[in-house]
């Protein structure tokens, strides 16, 4: 356990050291945030609500989506790509730690750092210039948190799964760019899936992506009733379980592959 707290601290310090990266990253998120907020406001000009969602709710949705995305600093896929390509993975495998947990702790540490680093400044900016992105109620806020945690897990598991493809096809290169694009589009981060034509919206319910962003955000702005929240949380949990099993399965195979073929 002490190893993992140390790793956490190390990641926090590391992240703080890169001030330049930091300011640029705030800038990037800010541009995205302002872009979405003003587009929603323009879209809502003179319209009360669409699909039961008001302008204020939608702006909150957009702001919190940016905050979540800024906090979800997951780099495991890229870490794996570069480690496998450089042939360092075999060295990691002989270390006496559970690597998957090790990597996860690193990303959790980074993401926790991002809460203070990115979420708070961006929140302050939107308080000043946009609107306070308030949750629908205290209940919504309390339910948002576990849903958000499940979203993080789901995204992380998907990322490591994508990263592990490099064990078999090293030349897959930026296969994570496909993942990023799919998540960007189908998670509802840009435009919530419920606004799309029924065919796309229905299909999306059977895919894991909308449980990575849209699910907690829907809860946050109070678009859905309490019973539906339970339903959403359980679907998220099921997806996490499915992905965890997949990761476990692929990981054992990958390790065996490294030991047999020498990475």
């Amino acid at each position: 356990m002490r190893l993992y707290t140390y790793l956490l601290k190390l990641q926090l310090l590391n992240a703080l050291a890169y001030r330049f990266e930091y300011l640029s990253s705030i800038g990037r998120n800010l541009f995205f945030l302002l872009g979405s907020v003003f587009i929603w406001r323009t879209a809502y000009r003179g319209i009360d609500q669409v699909a039961g969602v008001t302008e204020a709710q939608m702006v909150t949705y957009a702001v919190v989506a940016v905050l979540m995305n800024a906090c979800f600093t997951i780099s495991i896929d890229n870490v794996l790509f570069s480690k496998i390509r450089a042939g360092e993975i075999a060295l990691d495998l002989i270390r006496p730690v559970n690597l998957v947990w090790y990597w996860m702790t690193e990303d959790v540490g980074r993401s926790l750092a991002a809460v203070t680093q990115f979420a708070l400044p961006l929140l302050a900016i939107s308080l000043l210039f946009v609107a306070p992105p308030l949750p629908a109620g205290i209940e919504a806020w309390l339910l948002f948190l576990p849903s958000c945690a499940l979203s993080f897990l789901l995204l992380w598991l998907l990322s490591i799964l994508v990263g592990m493809t490099a064990f078999w096809v090293t030349d897959f290169g930026d296969v994570s760019s496909v993942k990023t694009s799919l998540v960007f589009a189908l998670s509802g981060r840009l435009v919530p899936m419920w606004l799309f034509p029924d065919l796309i919206a229905d299909a999306s319910r059977w895919l894991p992506f909308q449980y990575m962003f849209q699910a907690p955000l829907e809860i946050y702005i109070g678009r859905i009733s309490a019973t539906e929240v339970v339903h959403i949380l359980s679907v998220q949990a099921i997806w996490v379980a499915v992905f965890a099993l997949l990761v476990g399965f692929v990981w054992t195979r990958a390790q065996r592959r490294v030991f047999v073929q020498g990475g």
Binding site: L13, L16, A17, R19
Partner: protein
């Protein structure tokens, strides 16, 4: 006319020192800790066409900085640099057309392409005529033995193959001057020998001027007639290899083997200009000042007094020279 000329060349860098910890990083934002580093100080030397010069010194002594100034990559802070009679800074394109360079740590070949394609690119860049290119390439392929590698992607080549490829690439446009920055670093013995043979060949056959920096003293011993030693940005020695060894290490060594079983070898030996360095069994190592006493005088003196079985004289090697030179400079 000298091919390469430096006159009182200085190069000063300003570096910002990173400060420790988070507090230091914050402080560094407002008041950066700036320091002047004198990488090259008052360096002057001239190299004539066709010379093969070893340019040596410890890490950070200013070798790379000097070479970068010679090849037009860096501007000197003060002083005059001239290569083939031109300033590499003002006439960069004309100068680099006539020099070739290999930086051991940095590849000029295109990692993802076949070796021949990188050469094709050099042909275009240096405007090499078709038949010149063919002739130059086949000649280089023969000397370096890389004819079979032209269709191999560079990323699949071994370190030694790649270095030979680099050398050919640097010579394709038949430059007058070749800068070699540690070309043998990390190579195995066979490749080292091939590289040395190549350097000797182009120097003799094409009369190419070669400036070679290296940490490998065998390179120096086998190749260089002249040696320039730089330390802490200053030229501290410049001259023919043999003369340098003579002037810097005035000592020679005498290895004396006595008859075993005759007690301590050379017991009670004392001499004004010689001293015993070590005794091992019946073998004794003596250091003597060559200018004060000749080896033959010393040998006859010894064999008159002691049961000497065998004697050999040991010349100091370049390593002694360099150790002495670096050490001297640190002390001063």
């Amino acid at each position: 006319m000298a091919h390469i000329e430096l006159e009182k060349v200085c190069k000063t860098f300003h570096v910002t020192r990173k400060q420790k910890g988070l507090a230091g990083a914050v402080k560094g934002l407002f008041r950066p800790d700036q320091r002047e580093v004198h990488a090259v100080r008052d360096v002057s030397f001239a190299i004539e066409p066709g010379e093969l010069v070893g340019f040596i010194g410890p890490n950070g002594a200013g070798k790379s900085t000097t070479i970068k100034m010679l090849s037009g990559i860096l501007y000197p802070t003060s002083g005059r640099v001239s290569v083939v009679g031109l300033s590499p800074q003002e006439k960069r394109r004309a100068v680099v057309q006539r020099i070739g360079a290999v930086f051991g740590q940095r590849s000029q070949l295109n990692w993802d392409l076949r070796l021949g394609e990188s050469y094709e690119l050099f042909k275009r860049i240096y405007r090499i005529a078709d038949d010149d290119f063919e002739r130059s390439l086949s000649e280089l392929c023969e000397v370096l033995g890389i004819g079979d590698l032209l269709d191999t992607p560079v990323r699949q080549m071994s370190l030694g193959q790649r270095m030979r490829g680099e050398l050919a690439g640097a010579m394709l446009h038949e430059p007058d001057i070749l800068f070699l920055d540690e070309p043998t670093i990390g190579m195995d013995i066979e490749v080292k020998a091939a590289i040395r043979a190549f350097i000797r060949d182009i120097n003799q056959r094409r009369n190419t001027t070669v400036l070679l920096t290296t940490h490998d003293l065998d390179d120096v011993e086998e190749l260089c007639e002249r040696l320039i030693i730089i330390n802490q940005g200053r030229i501290i020695e410049d001259g023919p290899l043999a003369a340098l060894i003579d002037s810097i290490t005035p000592h020679r060594y005498l290895i004396v083997e006595c008859d075993p079983g005759t007690g301590e070898p050379l017991a009670g030996f004392a001499h004004a200009h010689a001293e015993i360095l070590e005794r091992r069994d019946s073998v004794v190592r003596i250091r003597f000042a060559r200018s004060q006493v000749s080896a033959s005088a010393l040998i006859s003196e010894l064999s008159a007094r002691y049961p000497v079985r065998d004697v050999s004289v040991q010349e100091p090697d370049i390593e002694d020279v360099i150790r002495t030179v670096y050490g001297r400079d640190v002390e001063s």
